[in-house]
């Protein structure tokens, strides 16, 4: 009994002299078909002793391929030379072995290489041949002419293999000489690389080829394969296991075994189906599962020595591909088998290192070994010993990492680099650091500082042991008038992050008499600045020294400038032209950058709808002065008498195109005919400072005044008059840049977003029309594509498609298509790259509605049909997955802002409906809300209709007439705010009463005479 159960025991049957080219199991998993030289014979796999049924046909060609229909299990198709024959086996049996061909499909002109029935259909068949044609046949079609309803012709050599996608009947993959094409029956020009589809992942397929590689592809990322198996010989067949995540491969050439690989680890086969009795290589193999127990599988293979083998699949094999079969309780007979399986697996585990010892015992148990890499090589590198032998020395050298031969490389390099290359590290102890972040020690930091010197700072010495660095800072810009002739030294100690002034610093040392009162401030200020810098650098764990020195040098410069400035008003006459622009008269004012205002005289700003407003008042002729003394005479904007002894002008200079601007000048943009004048009076002598350019900031003035309390000052702004008046261009221009901006208000006004009135495909077509009118040809194509993608998204079509799903391929929702989401995502990426938020937002709204329609249809179908609709999980019907949805929300929100600024408020509301709640912006500050106080406890303020603070849960509003809680229709007086039930109020105001029922004295109803329409209702507001 145990030996008779084919599911629990592997066995071999020898068919003498029979040459089988291809085998197949029917949809019921009980009948095997074997293609031979002159026909097909059928074998009942459940009863191997039963006589075989032979189908023979009258030509001399062998059966190349056969394939059972997956829906109508009695339909068998096979190829012979250039013909495809289809038999109905059920009819055959009735006719008692009649060899009448059910259907003959003849259109190919060369030999047919492969056929396959569409997985979802009982009557659609694809065939490919060496004539480079692929035909899709509908065998129901009576006319032989029209039977092939679709054909693909490739421009290359013949088609060798084809395979239908298991999930979508529109997708077909075909193999050509050296490449794979994927055909979509709905789009005849979409060839993409990628041949057996995965059972688990709809987008994964596997190809195998003569290059000894089995490659796994993700059709969503066709640029490169995602994984591969390296084999030592060409792979003839690779098929996924219907259970777990595994793959079975059959090699051509001398190998007689079938290898099982786990998808999870492809470096070595997880199991090998091999038997000593098999002498020929496997021609083909196929899976079947038990009609009584779908968790029990069997592998059928035909080998070239005319042997059919049926391989039992043990639990260990299941486990090796990550599959845990749910089993019925094992019978005693089965347990015996299981023990045998354990033995085989144990041997397989032990054999990973070494030899191909054959597991003894029955000739049918699998033997491990042949394909196992030997020890010594790392498993990840995984070339088998034979591979290594085959690699020539030349190729070894060119690709050392792959073969793992570092010694040769390591030896060669020094031989070339002999001499200086070896010595150099020792000979030059000074290292060169280019990136500051590499510095770790103080020594390195000091070296870095030496290599990257800072202007104005020089390194005196460093004491690495104590962590002290001594530096001297010199000011570059202070003029000799103010600074002592010798450069002042500032030894500063830098101890880690702290800064100390070791000796009297420059600020006190050189301040001599004049501005000594500022010194402590400056010192503190410098310490503060450097301290914060050091803190910041420490947080980022960056070295401090160089940055600190730079900062001090900069600060030093500025501070000494400021000091120079302060020193000005102590001098005789007190006013000195800043920096080296000394005029010699002690009459002009020094202004440093800090005190300039620098207004812009032109600009360009975007308004909404792509409008640009721009203007430019800059008149270069007014900004040519550079030396005030030379300018006084010919400057027509000078309002002051040049004879005034103290009049002077601030320097103005156009920004030099030649880059020759001196360091201390900046550009005082001036309103040149306006003069700011400062009059200083001292002991009856009038110091009159005029600043025509308005560049003299009040800071300077005030500091002058503070230091000279004896002066009384009058600051006045006066306008120049007469000929000094300069006419400026005050024209502001507007231009449109709308043509550069993809989002357009015109499109926004015309785009349809809400599909509640029209069907989705119609909406997309309408939007395509809108885009055409706006001459956006790219958008026309996008919307036409969207219309095509959504063609099945009318409610009727959707429900129909979901009901028929699995039985018919027509009208499958596009979201199920393996490329659908990828298409949408690439569209989104493209327009996101362009920054076209309008297209993104409107498209996302349309597809969100498609998803909503699909979900609704799915729910309806599930409600009616129960579990049968669950064959298609709901999420598989969605175009927009969660990450895309998050992006889409952002686009919609951004588009809403645009629409708001364009004043298209209705359109904005339409789009805003698709913004999910999670994306709503949390209010930053509370805005106006309606709230009531509880009539019984005025402290309680709530927007709720009832007061939940008081135990009776009073209504928050109370009718002014009946004094009961308010609910239902209410009305209130706009003036006093009192009101009540509409019915109560109507009664109250029915007669001549015009005052408020609460007695507040408000005359809620105006005199009837004053009312325009006396006949209108009694309620004050409606």
């Amino acid at each position: 009994m145990a030996e008779d159960d084919p599911w629990r025991q592997s066995m071999g049957i020898h068919f003498e002299g029979l040459h089988v080219t291809t085998i197949g199991v029917d949809a019921t998993n009980t009948v095997g078909a074997f293609g031979t030289l002159n026909g097909v014979f059928l074998l009942d796999l459940e009863d191997l002793t039963s006589p075989t049924t032979a189908i023979s046909f009258r030509n001399q060609y062998d059966v190349r391929t056969l394939h059972w229909n997956r829906i109508q299990s009695s339909l068998l198709a096979c190829t012979s030379n250039d013909k495809v024959y289809v038999w109905d086996v059920a009819q055959l049996e009735e006719a008692d072995g009649d060899t009448r061909v059910h259907t003959e499909l003849s259109k190919h002109v060369r030999s047919v290489n492969d056929i396959e029935w569409q997985a979802q259909s009982a009557h659609v068949l694809a065939s490919c041949a060496s004539d480079a044609y692929i035909y899709i046949w509908d065998i129901r079609e009576p006319s032989t002419e029209k039977r092939a309803f679709t054909s693909y012709r490739t421009d290359r050599a013949g088609v060798s293999q084809l395979a239908w996608n298991r999930h979508d009947g529109n997708i077909l993959a075909s193999a050509h000489a050296g490449f794979v094409r994927i055909w979509d029956m709905r789009n005849e020009s979409l060839p993409i690389f990628g041949i057996d589809w995965s059972y688990n992942v709809s987008s994964e397929l596997v190809t195998c080829a003569l290059d000894k590689l089995v490659k796994f592809w993700d059709v969503n990322k066709p640029e490169n394969f995602i994984d591969y198996i390296q084999s030592s010989s060409p792979i003839r067949r690779a098929k996924y296991t219907p259970f777990g995540g595994g793959l079975v491969t059959a090699s051509s050439s001398t190998h007689t075994d079938l290898k099982l690989w786990s998808r999870a680890s492809l470096r070595s086969p997880s199991h090998t189906f091999a038997a000593t009795s098999v002498r020929g290589q496997p021609t083909d193999f196929v899976w079947r599962f038990s009609p009584y127990d779908s968790s029990t599988y069997q592998l059928l293979s035909w080998s070239s020595d005319s042997q059919l083998r049926l391989w039992a699949i043990s639990d260990d094999v299941f486990a090796s591909v990550g599959h845990t079969p749910s089993r019925r309780p094992l019978s005693p007979a089965v347990r015996l088998n299981k023990l045998a399986g354990v033995g085989a697996a144990g041997a397989a585990a032990a054999g990973t290192g070494a030899s191909a010892t054959n597991a003894a015992g029955t000739g049918t148990s699998s033997s491990p070994g042949l394909a196992v890499p030997v020890g010594g090589m790392s498993p990840s590198a995984a070339p088998s010993p034979r591979d290594v032998e085959l690699v020539s020395p030349g190729s070894e050298a060119s690709s050392p990492p792959a073969l793992g031969s570092p010694p040769s490389v390591a030896l060669r390099v020094p031989s070339k680099m002999a001499g200086g290359g070896m010595r150099s590290p020792a000979a030059s102890p000074i290292f060169r650091v280019d990136s500051e972040s590499q510095l770790t020690t103080l020594e390195q930091e000091v070296v870095y500082l030496k290599q990257h010197p800072v202007d104005g700072a020089s390194l005196d010495r460093a004491n690495y042991g104590a962590g002290l660095v001594f530096l001297t800072f010199t000011s570059q810009t202070s003029s000799s008038e103010i600074s002592p002739p010798s450069a002042p030294a500032t030894p500063i100690e830098l101890r880690g992050p702290t800064l100390e002034f070791v000796q009297r610093s420059f600020f006190s040392a050189s301040s001599s008499a004049r501005s000594s009162e500022t010194t402590p401030d400056v010192k503190i200020r410098l310490k503060e600045l450097v301290g914060s810098l050091i803190q910041m650098r420490e947080r980022e764990s960056m070295p401090c020294l160089h940055a600190t020195v730079t900062e001090i040098a900069t600060q030093f410069d500025l501070l000494s400038k400021a000091k120079a400035n302060h020193a000005l008003h102590d001098g005789e006459g007190g006013l000195e032209a800043g920096g080296r622009g000394h005029t010699g008269g002690n009459e002009s004012i020094s202004v440093v950058a800090a005190e300039f205002v620098c207004p812009r005289l032109g600009g360009a700003y975007f308004g909404p709808r792509g409008t640009i407003v721009f203007w430019n008042c800059f008149n270069p002729s007014l900004f040519r002065l550079s030396n005030p003394a030379n300018q006084l005479g010919d400057d027509d904007v000078e309002p002051e008498s040049p004879t005034s002894p103290t009049s002077g002008r601030a320097r103005a200079q156009q920004p030099g195109r030649d880059g020759s601007r001196s360091a201390e000048t900046c550009w005082p943009a001036m309103w040149s005919d306006l003069s700011l004048s400062l009059e200083l009076e001292q002991q009856g002598r009038e110091l009159h400072v005029s600043d025509t350019g308005g560049v003299l900031a009040t800071d300077v003035l005030s500091s002058i005044l503070e230091s000279r309390p004896s002066l009384s000052a009058k600051v006045s702004l006066t306008r120049a008059t007469g000929q000094a008046k300069v006419h400026h261009k005050t024209r502001v221009r507007l231009a449109s840049a709308a043509r550069f901006i993809l989002a357009s208000p015109t499109l926004a006004e015309q785009y349809a977003v809400d599909a509640s009135r029209a069907s989705l495909p119609a909406l997309c077509q309408a939007n395509a029309g809108v885009a055409a009118r706006a001459k956006r040809r790219d958008l026309v194509r996008v919307w036409k594509l969207a219309a095509q993608m959504l063609s099945a998204y009318t409610p009727r079509a959707l429900a129909g498609a979901l009901c028929r799903l699995g039985s018919s391929a027509s009208g499958v929702p596009w979201a199920v298509h393996p490329f659908a989401r990828a298409t949408l995502a690439s569209l989104f990426d493209h327009y996101a790259g362009l920054g076209d938020v309008q297209t993104l937002a409107v498209l996302s709204c349309v597809f969100a509605q498609a998803d909503a329609a699909a979900v609704a249809a799915h729910a309806a179908v599930a409600a009616h049909l129960g579990g049968s609709a669950a064959r298609m999980p709901r999420d598989a019907l969605l175009f927009v997955d969660a990450p895309l949805e998050a992006r889409a929300n952002a686009y919609r929100l951004g588009y809403c802002r645009l629409l708001h600024a364009w004043g298209l408020l209705n359109k904005r509301a339409e789009v805003a409906k698709f913004v999910t709640l999670a994306a709503q912006v949390a209010p930053f500050s509370s805005s106006v809300m309606l709230a009531n106080t509880c009539p019984h406890d005025p402290v309680v303020v709530s927007a709720a209709p009832q007061c939940f603070a008081c135990p009776q849960s009073h209504f928050m509003l109370e009718c002014g007439v009946c004094r009961r809680g308010m609910r239902g229709l209410a009305s209130a007086c706009l003036k006093c705010g009192h009101g009540g039930h509409v019915r109560c109020l109507a009664t109250w105001f029915d007669g001549s009463i015009q005052v408020c029922p609460t007695g507040c004295g408000c005359k809620c109803i105006p005199d009837r005479a004053a009312r325009l329409q006396p006949q209108t209702g009694v309620v004050v507001m409606d």
């Binding site: 909404p608 309103w671 502001v732 840049a737 920054g835 992006r887 929100l893 951004g894 994306a919």
Partner: protein
């Protein structure tokens, strides 16, 4: 490109011109101490409302979001910021006067409306003042001292929603998108600085310091957020360099120098969609720059005054 001209009638140089939210009104600021408001549509075109209130040249104007009514702010050399409101058509009154700056106020910008009525002002005294309206009548001022040594030249607010706020990273605990008050400023210390209001510490912190310019930073602009996951800032320096700073999910800002003008750039401004940058130069030419698919900014057009 045909350009429509508006003769402002200002008696002196125009320092700022801004269109309002809907593009229906234009406000101009001038050295003649006035602000003028022009209606761009309708009958009143050409007869502007004149806003007299400053005693010195007005440097900048800014329109508030229309949800707050017809409101604009102006800043001036007289160290003041005035907030104006249109009470009746054409009649503007000052509703708030800010006079705490120690120097000329050079730049102002209204915050995104999500934060309420909040105004940032940058002054020549180097400080940034954030003026916000809290209660019906109260205005509070937060000052960032020494934002830019020597003076602040330009300020621009970040969009209320930080980049990527709607995707998982930037969400608050309750799942709503977290708002974050941020602004960018450019000043006379040649720096572009990014400031962020820390709600924990209740003060403004410097978020980033972008060093590139070797001269004063003239103008900065933070690009509007239309849902794309990157933040973009443009800055223009006195040295003629126009730089675009951008940041996606990574913490650091990357910079691209998109243009080296021969003239001083006056201003940089982003279109509402954030992908067109207008750069105005001292030579009167306005160049438009557009970001390509490969992320490179290319000049697409030039507008000139002579058109």
């Amino acid at each position: 490109m045909a350009a429509q001209g508006i003769e402002t009638g200002h008696e002196d140089m125009v320092h700022d011109a801004q269109l309002d939210y809907y593009g229906k009104r234009l406000a101009t600021a001038s050295s003649d101490t006035t602000v003028k408001v022009f209606d761009m549509v309708g009958e009143a075109k050409g007869q502007p409302a004149v806003l007299n209130g400053h005693s010195a040249p007005v440097w900048a104007v800014a329109w508030a979001h229309p949800m707050f009514g017809s409101m604009l702010a102006s800043c001036s050399y007289d160290k003041k910021v005035l907030v104006w409101k249109e009470e009746t058509a054409g009649s503007w009154v000052v509703v708030y006067e800010f006079s705490e700056a120690a120097g000329s106020v050079n730049t102002i910008a209204w915050a995104p409306h999500e934060f309420g009525l909040v105004l940032a002002a940058g002054s020549s005294d180097g400080s940034l003042s954030i003026i916000s309206k809290t209660e019906a009548t109260d205005w509070t001022v937060t000052v960032v001292k020494d934002a830019h040594r020597v003076g602040v030249n330009s300020v621009s607010w970040a969009p209320a929603l930080p980049e990527g706020a709607l995707t998982s990273a930037g969400k608050a605990d309750d799942g709503s998108a977290a708002l974050c008050q941020r602004l960018v400023s450019g000043g006379c210390d040649n720096m572009v600085r990014i400031w962020r209001y820390s709600t924990q510490e209740s003060r403004w912190l410097q978020d980033a310091e972008l060093a590139h310019h070797t001269e004063w930073v003239r103008s900065v602009a933070w690009a509007p957020n239309v849902g794309l996951p990157t933040s973009t800032i443009a800055s223009a320096g006195q040295d003629g360099e126009v730089v675009v700073w951008s940041r996606g999910s990574e913490p650091h800002w990357s910079k691209t120098v998109i243009a080296q003008l021969t003239e001083t750039p006056w201003s940089v401004s982003f279109s509402l969609t954030g992908n067109i940058l207008a750069v105005a130069g001292a030579d009167g030419a306005v160049t438009l720059w557009k970001e390509d698919l490969d992320g490179e900014w290319r000049q697409v057009s030039t507008l000139t005054d002579e058109a």
